[in-house]
Symmetry: C2
Subunit: 526 residues, 2 copies
């Protein structure tokens, strides 16, 4: 709706029709007026952010080299405008005048989220926002060069600067622990204390498991996935798979990108994924496609009436990652899935050798490796644990930036039994710190934990899920996720959403049981 | 540059280093301060408009169906924000405080353009802008339905409304004739009086030429261009052609679109074209590619220092169209061009029959037809003439919207000797009126006129242009255009630019001579 256009009176009357007493109606009208103006303002902010997302999608997929400089300016401008619209005194006044709404209503949730966003953004001085924007832009460029030449010293001063700015940011915000303010941005309700508990439990469970598997590692099991696979055939196979998941192509598309991602533009009508194919290794493109489709199914399933409001989109990075990992691991790395897709895979790629069991072992093969994004299901969380511990130490002051590479390598050796050959394969591998994403990594592991908790609740609620999967059908699973997770968007906070869906708060126990059972069997009592 | 970031002092000092007396420096500093702030503001507006252009490009090329609604909201929001930033009192104050700059300097041109834009935009009441935006959105939807069912009555009330709003718009602006205010938006300096003169001359010259040719029309000459041509081969051939023109692929790309267009994002670093291929008719994709590449070469050639200022981009629709028509017609429909590309075309498409002369006659075949966008070089301007006369009559009140279809058909018969079978092939064929583009059509013919005037000046200045073309080289031609047209962006007003480039004001005589010579020879003394 174009906010320049006055709202027609009958629409307005409809909104207050439930109120009985005329005096109450007058009050409600005044509130609704401010509420409606606020909604228009939030819709404008949403549109500007959506435009930035389109520009980012284009930059990663189709933009020619010559567009780099101008695109950076355009994105900086859009992000500044969105920020200015959010923190303006007008927004603050509208939030105050928007009144109270029935607890549990969409309106109440919208206000809660808008107030939280406004509060966070308006506590940060404009100078800090601008400096962080500039420092991270410079740091990202330096990081690219540092990684290329595997030279930590090129990046270290930028890391110092970005960390200092994020620490200053934390000082403007409330949290039991300064790191809480970082976590809160990606996973509202999460806390350092709780994550310590989660990671302690996972460390205690996974490190011995990995050691056990390592002792039993024989031949490389991934041979069936290696060969020379045409990209068009890989893409077609992946499309078939995610079409059967329920990915709606009239509301999305798939393109190529060096660093795959999923992106939405403020509503469920256009949710795109990108993929990278490796002609020599089937798993890269296939599981990448399933992973991004998992994110996309979440966004495509959000209540369309939440579009252009703070309620739109997935509720947190952790819950988002639970959806991508659920489809990637619980579904696409499972026996039921492959009992249906194995014959199809061999039809498409006659070069793929081996029976169903060989393939199942191939897609679940474990090996300690240097790069997080290439890690298997079992070792993945140890990569995240390492980053969580290092970030915490940096924030608490117990670790100096200069000592990061040494600390990184020590933890790699302790948890995964390997030391990276160089810093490009170690401390310099991720872009997160360069662009200021402290507190983001834990969401990856939170997602793994929640993926199992949600999947088990889904199967308990709809036992037909597994037999369906064996037939290459996923309607019951998607239906359960839609009903219990997707449609709610950001209406409930993550803990609340998970409790409603599974009857319990987030819990590491099901995830650890799942890993022990799956990899114990795969690696013969590991 | 992020306007949040303060300008470093040395950059600032550099800008005023030319001023001698210290008192003058102080004044200049104060001016520069406002000037710099104004530039930042204009850069922000440019970024928002560029973002809208990216969203539009995406909508026409890759956006899935489900994105339609949200994208319309996003574009409306961006256009509203750009408008609000432009007409705000802050912009007005900055324009007043930005001081005087040396006549002929970039700074002076920037201020002249910014003041003109601000003046036009701020004279229009916000209500009128909003109503026009809504009315044209509704009219465009109605026009699509009306064209599909060839039912004028579905569109007529919307046409009434849009025309009334454009007439109201004219009443807020200054012009010798109300229609001047429409023309001024697309071709600054153009006027109804001058266009009347231009079209009178063209009518007097072209109508008899077309009658002469019609009397001599024998067999259909387009047979060599008809067949079954793979789209990939068509695309590759077109790419080779425009690469030889000088289209820079590191600063652009080519995609498919139903209605081809060229788009830039506020600078020369990313200028994209889109193409529609007809598998049965080679000319559609090939000349469409050359046409859009002509637009793109202009944008790619603008001085990069003009990016994100009002000086960026082509100066007017007429001059822009002169560039697309020059490459499409003067180059790609010429003998020198085909003497090089004919063997290559036959290599690529062995099905293409006939010698060079047969092909030359095929790509220049004339036939009166109903649809402007499919018209040949000779009859094209009569389609534009018809629209110009009808728009003028509508604006002057001498023609009622209800009588438009009858008037249309009468003029088609008079100028082209045919009457459209129905309104979909007649008065409903173009989207321009639905979206409020009154005064836009004349630019197409102005472009044809200027294309010949510029091409002749180029060849006179660099006689090697024709021999180069025969070798498939276009460096001398592009070089002349870059030097005399492209690089200047919007710095000079169109008349000034044309006079600097060709030594004369816009002139129909060379164009008429060109048509008479070319088609006289092709149609044997027509």
């Amino acid at each position: 709706m174009n906010p320049d256009i006055p709202i027609p009176p009958k629409l307005y009357a409809g909104k207050t029709a439930a109120t009985d007493a005329s005096i109450a109606r007058v009050i409600a009208d005044a509130r609704n007026d401010a509420f409606q103006t606020l909604q228009d303002r939030l819709a404008t902010i949403s549109d500007v952010s959506a435009a930035a997302a389109v520009l980012t999608w284009d930059r990663q997929t189709y933009m020619p080299e010559g567009g780099v400089g101008a695109r950076a300016e355009q994105l900086a401008t859009l992000s500044r405008l969105a920020h200015e619209l959010l923190v303006s005194s007008e927004t603050g006044e509208l939030l105050e005048r928007a009144g109270k709404h029935e607890p549990g209503s969409d309106e109440a949730a919208l206000l809660r989220l808008a107030r939280r966003e406004y509060d966070r953004a308006s506590r940060l001085p404009a100078r800090l926002v601008a400096e962080t924007s500039r420092a991270t832009a410079l740091a990202e460029r330096a990081w690219i060069q540092a990684r290329e030449s595997s030279d930590w010293s090129l990046f270290a001063p930028h890391m110092e600067r970005v960390l200092a700015l994020k620490q200053e940011e934390a000082s403007h915000l409330d949290g039991e622990h300064p790191y809480d303010t970082m976590l809160d941005r990606y996973d509202p309700g999460s806390s350092t204390r709780r994550l310590r508990g989660m990671f302690d439990a996972l460390k205690a469970g996974i490190v011995p498991l990995v050691r056990g598997v390592s002792a039993r590692l024989g031949e490389d099991r991934t041979a069936p996935l290696r060969g020379d696979f045409g990209e068009a055939a890989q893409e077609a196979f992946g499309r078939d798979v995610i079409t059967s998941f329920g990915y709606d192509w009239s509301k999305g598309r798939q393109d190529r990108a060096v660093h795959p991602f999923c992106v939405d533009f403020g509503g469920p009508g256009d949710v795109r994924i990108t993929t990278r194919f490796d002609p020599g290794l089937l798993s890269v493109g296939l599981f990448g496609t399933c992973h991004e489709a998992g994110h996309a199914l979440y966004e495509q399933g959000v209540d369309p009436s939440y579009s252009r409001t703070p309620l739109a989109g997935g509720v947190s990075m952790g819950v988002h990652e639970s959806q991508s990992r659920l489809w990637e691991n619980l579904v696409a790395r499972s026996r039921p899935f492959w009992s249906h897709f194995h014959p199809r895979l061999r039809e498409t790629f006659p070069g793929v050798s081996g029976d169903l069991e060989t393939l199942y072992r191939a897609v679940n093969s474990v090996r300690s490796s240097e790069i997080r994004t290439e890690a298997d299901e079992l070792t993945y969380d140890l990569h995240v644990l390492l980053r969580f511990e290092l970030e915490l130490a940096l924030f608490e002051g117990g670790l100096a930036v200069a000592d990061l590479p040494t600390a990184w390598n020590a933890k790699m050796e302790e948890y995964l039994g390997i030391v990276p050959e160089n810093d490009a394969l170690g401390v310099l591998q991720d872009t997160h710190w360069a662009i200021g994403l402290f507190g983001y990594f834990p969401a990856y592991t939170l997602g793994n934990v929640l993926s199992v908790q949600l999947f088990e609740a889904a199967v308990a609620g709809r036992p037909e899920i597994i037999p369906e999967m064996e037939r290459g059908e996923f309607g019951a699973l998607l239906g359960w996720l839609r009903e219990n997770v997707h449609r709610h968007g950001k209406k409930y906070d993550p803990d609340d959403l998970i409790a409603r869906a599974t009857g319990r708060p987030p819990d590491t126990a099901p995830y650890l049981r799942y890993l022990e059972t799956k990899f114990g069997e795969l690696y013969d009592g590991a």
